[in-house]
């Protein structure tokens, strides 16, 4: 459902992605691992259309459409979800308001009827419970005063509510303790491990991959996919480190 071909991108004139190719089919979970600064977040932002991330070559097709041609909000409405490595705080806007506006904007874009307040709250409660996040947290302003772990759980509640067909999750496991990791991993499985859906899971650690088991593991290095393997590759990385695995 996602085909990235020979993608190159720059930030402020510096080349970060350099001919990256990757294809994710429906029903698949692909993990992307790689050293700090390899360009993992850059890939996520390029897929999410973040201003300042300039695509200089290649193409990305999402469900047969040209993803790079869409505005960021159109990508979301088309089913793309970007889980942020650093979720953004929005003072003055409650999670409930934010997510209801977001869901209804997506529905409107797809020509669907908006959810009313009651319907939305029911959905939000269900997804908050799935991620074991207190519903009171959703009444607070978006990510304001949330701990690192709470922000990541809230991201997954957002994903549950918006119910995307494809998720790019950028280090959703960082900042989580063992118990939270389990909850978040189970949440990702519940929301995204479905026949028509795909996931690109960016992570440093193999811990999360024990819960959300990937079909493929890619190593991103110097702006491109340097190695691809099965779930085993993650174990090997954990045991031996990037340098050794890459040299092999």
């Amino acid at each position: 459902m996602l085909q990235i071909e020979n993608l190159s991108a720059e930030i402020g004139g510096t080349k970060i992605l350099d001919g990256l190719s990757l294809s994710v089919g429906a029903g698949e979970v692909h993990a992307i691992m790689g050293p700090n600064g390899a360009g993992k977040s850059t890939l996520a932002y390029v897929l999410g259309g973040r201003p300042g991330y300039e695509v200089t070559g290649g193409s990305v097709r999402f469900d047969g459409k040209d993803l790079l041609d869409m505005e960021p909000h159109e990508r979301a409405a088309a089913g793309m979800f970007l889980g942020f490595q650093y979720p953004v705080e929005i003072p003055g806007v409650s999670n409930v308001q934010f997510l209801r506006e977001a869901l209804n904007a997506q529905r409107k874009h797809r020509g669907e009827e908006p959810l009313n307040g009651g319907e939305f709250l029911k959905l939000a409660k269900e997804k908050a419970a799935l991620l074991k996040l207190d519903m009171d947290m959703l009444k607070r302003h978006v990510n304001v005063g949330f701990s690192g772990g709470e922000k990541k759980r809230a991201e997954m509640v957002q994903m549950g509510i918006l119910d995307p067909s494809f998720a790019v999750l950028d280090e959703t496991d960082s900042g989580l303790d063992i118990d939270s990791l389990r909850v978040v991993g189970d949440g990702i499985n519940a929301i995204m491990r479905q026949p028509g859906k795909g996931v690109l899971l960016i992570t440093h650690y193999q811990r999360l991959l024990q819960v959300v088991q990937p079909d493929y593991v890619h190593i991103l290095s110097q702006g491109r996919i340097a190695k691809t393997g099965s779930a085993d590759l993650a174990n090997q990385l954990e045991a031996e480190g990037y340098d050794k695995v890459m040299a092999a």
Binding site: G49, E71, R75, P91, A102, A105
Partner: protein, 255 residues
């Protein structure tokens, strides 16, 4: 009788209280429109002032209030200047012992409109409290001003006065001016004032876009959050929604 005869001296920008005003828009306008309000000791009075687009909205809109707040009385004013080429809401307040004055003000506007609040709060007796919050959102070449003076006389001990201004500029050509002026002659006084100016948080807007919220809607949501500060002290939901709607409608039309 000519205008000149009725108002021998018209304000100019050299006058402190008209420093950033569209004084040229005062030509032929009657300035002597003061409304005097007296709030008896212990009473409460509140008012909502709205300058919005309408059939009888003039090019220049002035609202001038002089309020005497008796001992232990409360006065609350929530106001928005969202229409007219030049809109000015001017409030002079004299506060008795233990009185409270609450003001929340909003200016919004684009093109080359000027919309402003000018307040003068006199703490004339001890133990009175005042709290003023103004939020200004401007685009195009629009201007928003808050000139707020606070006078605390020698005997007005235990005065607690606060004034807070924030401006949000949506375009490069827009501007806001904040001129706090504090004259404090008592020594046991709390007086706080702050003024900041900024732009829309583009990181927040991208985050919202990544969740499916289009640019006009994220702007609306962030502006709503921004001006909400000015209405925190307003307990009446209907009034709050009305003021918010006037501001956001103007923003959406972007005129």
């Amino acid at each position: 009788m000519s205008e000149l005869a009725t108002h021998p001296t018209r304000p100019t920008r050299r006058d402190e209280a008209w420093r950033y005003s569209a004084v040229e828009a005062l030509e032929g306008v009657d300035l002597d429109v003061w409304r005097d309000i007296t709030i008896a000791p212990g009473e409460s009075w509140s008012e909502c002032l709205v300058i919005e687009d309408g059939a009888d909205t003039a090019a220049t809109e002035l609202r001038r209030l002089r309020i005497d707040i008796g001992a232990g009385a409360r006065c609350a004013i929530f106001a928005i200047a969202a229409a007219a080429e030049y809109a000015r809401i001017e409030i002079e307040v004299r506060m008795g012992r233990g009185a409270h004055f609450e003001m929340g003000g909003i200016t919004v506007g684009g093109r080359d409109t000027v919309r402003e609040f000018v307040t003068r709060v006199v703490h004339a007796e001890p133990e009175a409290t005042s709290n003023q919050t103004v939020r200004s959102v401007h685009w195009g070449k629009g201007t928003g001003n808050f000139l707020g003076s606070i006078d605390v006389v020698r005997d007005a001990q235990k005065t607690d006065a606060a004034q807070d201004f924030k401006g949000l500029l949506l375009d490069r050509g827009a501007s806001v001016n904040a001129v706090p002026q504090l004259e404090i002659f008592a020594d046991d006084v709390k007086c706080a004032h702050g003024a900041t100016v900024g732009q829309l948080d583009e990181t927040a807007r991208y985050y919202m876009a990544a969740r499916g919220i289009p640019p006009e809607l994220s702007r609306r949501l962030l502006v709503q959050a921004f001006i909400g500060d000015a209405l925190v002290g307003l307990s009446d939901d209907d009034t709050r929604e009305r003021l918010m709607r006037v501001a956001l409608d103007k923003l959406d039309k972007h005129l």
